[in-house]
Each structure stands twice: as structure tokens, then as C-alpha cells.
């Protein structure tokens, strides 16, 4: 377990954490403000990646593809909001879960119909294709650093937006007591739409940024959605700050756990049982972490007052 390898894995963990934050931020805002549990948030991440691949095929430029894909994802998200989601805000969570599950089934298979089941790829933008040298000659791809940086910038921007602007104030007020905000004369439906559209774009952005280093395939949003749930449950539903802290925590614990569990277990048992138990324990880690956090603080690390 050398120092450089550790550093590489920490960076990978941060990159996963940032990605989780981008997805969890939208999820937690939508839930906090609208009390709406949106399982279809993960497929919006997937859709972002697919749209980026599709637009890249047309325009051949990553930046242009990014902008076009974001706009298309936003448009599609708002269409979904108009057709389905807005009729569910007043319903109970069970209805919301089932309807958004239906949308997951639809979209996961719709992309299969349109783009086929085979994984697609998106090239890393040329300017960022290189690697940087970490200490003693270990190389690290620049694009992963770009993902981390863009995530941190967005997190900071989001924090500023929520803390210091009028719309941010309304969002915070909405998360605390949506009915009161509405009674004070704020057009709550429009606020919902803005928050929802924003969340959709964040998820799509995450999907576009990660597309160059993973394969774009149907169902890619499903597992990340559950990780995002773990993040917002640990962070406290509705809390951006909590989502950020919990996302980095989960990203690091999961990545480091998977990389080093076998090495650590070797200290207390033979190599062959360690190889057998290690992966199982590594995959349990974040859920055990979640269980412990919830056992001590059932409302998460940063509970919001409203819920």
C-alpha cells in the first residue's frame, strides 16, 4: 500500500464523491422543497450522457455537445415535470415511487430502442486528454481532475446561490415550509419548476462529465441513484451542505474500501480468506456507515428544520 497508490485512490474517491454530489444535490433539493421522491433522477443522469454522445456525433465538439445536451436534458426534464411529476406533488410517497419507477422502466428501455443495448463511448475533450505526474512517476488523467474541479466549483456556486440570493432564500424557505411560502404570495409552482429544472441539469451535467471515462449504457443511472440516496439520507434530506459532506465521505469510503480491504484484512487473516471476504466487506461498508449514522442521528448529519 504505497503512498502514491493511496493518493491515486483518494483522488478517485473525491471524483466519485463529486459526481455523487452533483446527483444528490438535485435530488435533495427536489425532495426538500417539494417533498417529492424522484426515483427517475438517475435516468436523467443517464440521459445526459446519452444526449452528449448523440450531440457529439453531430457537432463533433465536446463543449458544444455539453451545452446542447444540457439544454435538451432540461427541456426533457421540464416536459416530464409538466406531464407527470406536477400531478404527483400532492400525492403520497407510494404513488410518487411507482410513477417515477414507471418512468425509469420506460427510459432505460427507450434508450435501448433508440441507441441499442451496446455501450457507447464519448472521447475525452482533446485539451484535457493528457495525464499529470503525481509524485514518483505515477500518472493521473487530467480529465478526472477536471471533474473534481468542476464539481467543487459547482458546489461553491450552489452554496452561494442558496445562501445569498433571493431565489436561494425562497428555496430554503420552501424546504422549511412550502405552504407558508405560498401563502406569502410566492408562485410556488414556478419555484418548483425552477428547482426541478436545476436538479435535472445537475444530474445531466454529472452524466456528461463522467461519460468520457465510463461506458454509456442503459441502466447506468440505477446504481448511482441508490448511492445518491445513501448520500442524502446520511447528509440529511434537503441539506446541500449535508449532501456535499456525505457525498465526499461516501466517495472516499467506497473507493478506499474497495482498493484496500483485502490488504487490510490480510493483517488479521490469511491471504486467501482475505481475498474472499474483502470484496464483500468493501461493498457493505457504505451501508454500514449509513446504518451507524442513522442509528445515532435518524435525520442525518445536517437535519433541515422543515423535515
Amino acid at each position: 500500500m504505497s503512498g502514491t497508490l493511496f493518493l491515486v485512490q483518494v483522488l478517485n474517491g473525491l471524483q466519485l464523491g463529486v459526481l455523487l454530489f452533483l446527483i444528490a444535490a438535485g435530488l435533495t433539493l427536489v425532495f426538500g422543497v417539494m417533498d417529492f421522491i424522484n426515483l427517475a433522477h438517475g435516468v436523467q443522469y443517464m440521459l445526459g450522457a446519452y444526449l452528449a454522445v448523440a450531440f457529439y456525433g453531430i457537432v463533433g465538439n465536446f463543449l458544444a455537445a455539453l451545452v446542447l445536451a444540457l439544454l435538451a436534458a432540461l427541456g426533457f426534464g421540464l416536459l416530464l415535470e409538466f406531464l407527470v411529476f406536477r400531478h404527483l406533488y400532492e400525492r403520497d410517497h407510494l404513488d410518487q415511487v411507482i410513477a417515477t419507477f414507471g418512468i425509469i422502466l420506460f427510459l432505460n428501455h427507450a434508450v435501448r430502442v433508440i441507441w441499442g443495448a451496446a455501450p457507447l463511448t464519448l472521447p475525452v475533450p482533446e485539451f484535457f486528454t493528457g495525464t499529470v505526474v503525481l509524485m514518483d512517476g505515477q500518472l493521473y488523467p487530467v480529465w478526472r481532475l477536471v471533474i473534481i474541479a468542476s464539481g467543487v466549483v459547482i458546489a461553491a456556486g450552489l452554496y452561494g446561490l442558496v445562501s445569498f440570493t433571493r431565489i436561494g432564500m425562497l428555496v430554503r424557505a420552501g424546504a422549511t415550509n412550502a405552504r407558508m411560502v405560498s401563502a406569502l404570495g410566492v408562485n410556488i409552482e414556478r419555484l418548483f419548476m425552477v428547482v426541478f429544472g436545476f436538479g435535472t441539469m445537475l444530474a445531466a451535467f454529472a452524466g456528461i462529465m463522467i461519460a468520457p471515462i465510463i461506458s454509456v449504457e442503459p441502466g447506468m443511472g440505477d446504481n448511482i441513484l441508490i448511492l445518491a440516496f445513501v448520500v442524502i439520507v446520511i447528509g440529511g434530506i434537503g441539506s446541500i451542505r449535508g449532501a456535499f459532506v456525505a457525498a465526499l465521505l461516501i466517495g472516499l469510503v467506497d473507493t478506499l474500501g474497495r482498493s484496500f480491504s483485502i490488504d487490510i484484512l490480510r493483517l488479521i487473516m490469511g491471504p486467501s480468506p482475505a481475498r474472499m471476504v474483502g470484496p464483500a466487506i468493501a461493498s457493505m461498508l457504505i451501508y454500514v456507515l449509513m446504518a451507524i449514522v442513522l442509528y445515532i442521528r435518524p435525520a442525518g448529519l445536517f437535519p433541515t428544520r422543515g423535515g
Binding site: 417533498d35 426515483l39 404527483l88 410513477a99 419507477f101 420506460f106 440505477d222 442513522l294
Partner: protein, 331 residues
Amino acid sequence: MTGALLAAEGGVRALRPTRDVVLATLMFLVFALLPLFASLAAKQYLLDIGARMMVFAVAAVALDLLVGYAGLISFGHAAFVGLGAYAVGILSAHGIDDALISLPVAIAVSMLFAWLTGIVCLRTKGAYFIMITLAFGQMVYFIATSLAPYGGDNGLTVAARNTIAGWPLLKSDRAFYYFTLLCLLATYLFCRVLVVSRFGRVLRGTKENATRMATIGFDTRRFQLVAYVIAGGLGGFSGFLLANLTEFVSPAYMSWQQSGELIVMVILGGVGTLDGAIIGSAAYLIAEEWLSGFTENWKVIFGPILVLVVLFARGGLIGLASRLWRRSGHA
């Protein structure tokens, strides 16, 4: 009293006791006669579909106990099914393939898992509960995929169907079908008795208003935990049947999509009725069979149907049927 309580729950119309009995009798009669029809029409694949309907119905009835009566939306129910199935698979890999051992183990493992996770899950409410059960389900899924000695991602084949006390009673498909029917009937009757018992009334009362029940003096969380453990055990029961039906065990049994599909079955039939869970699992598998005849990606069609059911057909198939029944003058 019971009728008023039921009617107040989520707009599902209470069925009169007599109609309840009629519906249940009809359902089980259809299941009992299906093999006869299958052999007359020379469509043996119906036997397999029927058995699968009943296996999932066992899990769905248990889930309805949680969702419909206790108000606990568990999104990790497939984990229990998977645990039960893996109990059969792993025991069989070590040469133990008698139901007298594997069935109790399957149920006990699922109940233990339900108890351990239930303690944590039930500290939370509402959406938190949904997300946490989802996460724990996913945990079991990932553990199963990392179990390299037992097939990992690929799952493992069960050498043969379980024997009962050494006798290969379940070997023929028809015998297994009727065994499954018996299991479903037992599950159904057990849950029926449970929901009208004092225990069931406390659960329903807690669903309506937890504070009120706590004020009366009930330890509501303990009742919910017991319900969660029972439902978990029945999930394991269903897993035992599933492993024996397919003679194969795979992590896919406990994927979160599978959990979602179980909830869909409960909703599709009509939540909080128990009959609905059985009708729902049958309807789901029929839809799968029928729609996949048009396209391999049949969920492209099924997904929007689901959205429409939620938006326009509350109460599921049973709710729809009882509305039609009333409209035709049988008020």
C-alpha cells in the same frame, strides 16, 4: 368498524366480507384448475407461468402486509426473496437439499436480516424509510455479487429440487405447482388472520395515526418491527420456492428493480387488500408475457402504463373492478 377503517385507507374501497371470500375462492380455484387447462390445451408453459405467479404472489402478499396495512413502504423486499433463494442454493452446494432443513434456514435467515435492518430502518419515517430499505436491499445484492465461491455475478445452479424428508416429492412440475399453491394458500390465510387480529388492528391504527396509537399506550415501533420481520420471513419463503422453481439462484433476484416490481404488483392489484397482491402478481406476469410478444423491450410500453395507473386508476385492479361494480347498480 373494519369496513370504515379500510375505506379510509388511501381511497381503497372496503370489500364486503362475503365478496372477499368469493374473490379469494375464485382466485384459488383458477390457480387450482390451471394445470388441468394447461394439459387440455397442450400448453405446458402455462404451468411454469402459473407457478411463477404464485411464487411472486407469496412475496407480494407479505409486502402488502407492510405497504397496505402497516404503511411501511419497503423498497428492499427482493432482498428477503434473494436471501431465501441463496439459503437454498448455498445449502445445496454443500450437499444439503432437503426442504426440512433449507426451508427453515431460508425463513430464519430472512427474518434475522429483517430484524437487524428493521431496528435501524424503523428509527426513520416516510421517505427516509423508503431510501434506507432500498439501500439495505442493494447491500445484500452487492454482497451476493461478490460471493465468488457461490457464482458471484453469474449466480449458481441448484443441483435438483429439494426433497421433503428424503422423498423427491417436488420433482415433477405438476407436484411442485400444487405444492406452491398450498404455500400461497397458507401465506394468504396466515396474513388474513393476522390483519384482522388485534396485532393487525394496531398496525392499521399506527398507519392512520402513529401518535394516537402511541398515546393510547402501544409501543408502535415494536409492532412495526414484528410486522417487518414477519414480512421478511415470508419473503424468504418465497425465495425458497423461487430457487426450487428455477433451480437457479442469481443476484438478480434481489436487484432493486425486482423490489420495485414487487411493489408494482401490490399496487397494480390494489394495495391493502391481500387479494390485490395475488391478482397484481398474476397481472404483472401476464403483462410481461403478452407485451414481450410485441417487443423485447416491453417495459417501454409497461412504464407509461404504470404512470397512467398511478395518475388515473387509484386502488389498482380491485379498485377499478369495485368502481365498475358500483356503477352497474350493485351499490
